[in-house]
């Protein structure tokens, strides 16, 4: 079973929920798909045993065969190639690996090259398997790294995917193939606004989902009202607590605190809903 944890808004508590849900499950896999800024490792402190670079395909130009016709520069819709004074200039950070330049080159002067854009790290945190993707600074998109993470972690066991914030291509890639998704939100206008975007995204992708309200307090009805109206199950309401904030700021999980009960129950609830 694959459970994806996303939020729309950043800072609502995705990592807190994903890490503690995985711990509540006891056995399984935690995957940090927030490849631009993975931070689950701070809490799980895994022993990394395997590191694999992630490569993407980029064109390689054969200057002997190139006749400087400019066809590739003209056709590249990402403006990754320029032609200046009979010389091609290639800007790899703009390349989307679409391969169009290879197709349009009449001289067959463009071949396949490779570029490393990030890394996948795997290991263990106690009985929990751990994997994370790291995108190199300055790279255009984390999608290829997330895709590799998904491919390499299988689907058999219980998998918790900690997704990136927002609702971009990276998020879509991270939730792909999930059996269930959790939107972590907070009772603020921003939390509500971005939750609605995440709801729209998951409905479009036809992934069943529920909401965990984090930093919840008595009287904060704004999220509950919308969920009731829309028929969205509320999996848990984790209260606003200085104790949780303190352990987070120290890089500790909630494993040995009374708050762990919220995640144990949330996990049970999710398992019932996925059945």
């Amino acid at each position: 079973m694959i459970i994806s944890v996303l939020s729309g808004k950043g800072g609502t508590g995705k990592t807190t929920v994903a890490v503690n849900l995985a711990l509540a499950a006891g056995k399984g896999v935690y995957i940090d798909c927030d490849v631009e800024e993975p931070n689950g490792f701070i809490f799980l402190k895994p022993q990394i045993s395997e590191k694999t670079p992630v490569e993407i395909e980029i064109p390689s130009f054969d200057t002997e065969k190139c006749v400087a016709c400019g066809e590739c520069a003209q056709k590249c819709r990402f403006h990754a190639i320029a032609l200046v004074k009979g010389k091609l200039l290639f800007f790899p950070e703009l390349c989307h690996s679409c391969g169009l330049c290879q197709l349009v080159c009449g001289q067959r002067a463009i071949g396949k090259g490779k570029k490393t854009i990030g890394m996948i790290e795997k290991g263990f945190s106690g009985s929990l398997a751990f994997a994370q993707g790291i995108l190199n600074v300055g790279e255009r998109s984390g999608v290829p790294v997330i895709k590799r993470l998904r491919e390499e972690t299988g689907a058999g066991e219980l998998i918790v995917r900690d997704c990136p914030p927002g609702s971009s291509c990276s998020v879509m890639e991270a939730v792909e193939g999930s059996n269930y998704a959790i939107i972590v939100t907070e009772p603020t206008p921003f939390g509500l606004h971005d939750m609605k975007i995440a709801v729209e995204l998951l409905r479009y992708l036809q992934i069943p989902f529920g909401v965990i309200i984090n930093k919840w307090g008595e009287g904060d009805r704004m999220i509950e009202d919308v969920c009731e109206k829309e028929g969205i199950p509320i999996i848990s309401k984790v209260p606003f607590s200085r104790e949780i904030a303190r352990s987070y700021s120290k890089g500790d999980t909630l494993e040995n605190s009374a708050y762990m009960e919220y995640f144990v129950q949330a996990m049970q609830r999710i398992k019932e809903l996925v059945k």
Partner: protein, 124 residues
């Protein structure tokens, strides 16, 4: 000699825009004949590679010098490869910048600003 100015207006009173890749248009002046043309900047609406698009257009037009405010690393790479010098002359009308260009007192830009430097300037 063909000199391109980054502008949002349509004549010599237009103020030179500080942005290169995302400027509205280029005023291209033929200094020998004293005639100019306005060319829309395809880079303005490009989803990525705005500076590259703009610089490539100017190279294709046979421009020999550029007067703007700031220029990014990719665009500057193309312009220098093409041997086109870039001068700083933003915030003053084209007529004035042209005069200063002819007198040779405009500062030549050799250092690019960071990528996407001008992205938020349109809203100000």
């Amino acid at each position: 000699m063909k000199v391109a100015f980054t502008v949002s207006g349509k004549d010599l009173n237009a103020v030179v825009e500080p942005r290169f890749g995302r400027c509205s248009s280029f005023l291209v002046m033929d200094t020998e004949r004293g005639l100019y043309e306005i060319h829309g900047n395809e880079g303005q609406s490009a989803s990525s590679g705005a500076g590259i698009t703009a610089a490539q257009c100017l190279v294709n037009m046979g421009v020999e010098a550029v007067v703007t405010g700031n220029v990014g690393p990719n665009a500057l790479g193309i312009l220098s490869a093409a041997g086109i010098p870039v001068y700083r002359g933003a915030g003053i009308p084209v007529s004035e910048a042209l005069e200063q260009f002819k007198q040779g007192i405009l500062e030549e830009i050799s250092q690019a600003v960071p990528k996407h430097y001008g992205l938020n300037m349109g809203g100000k």
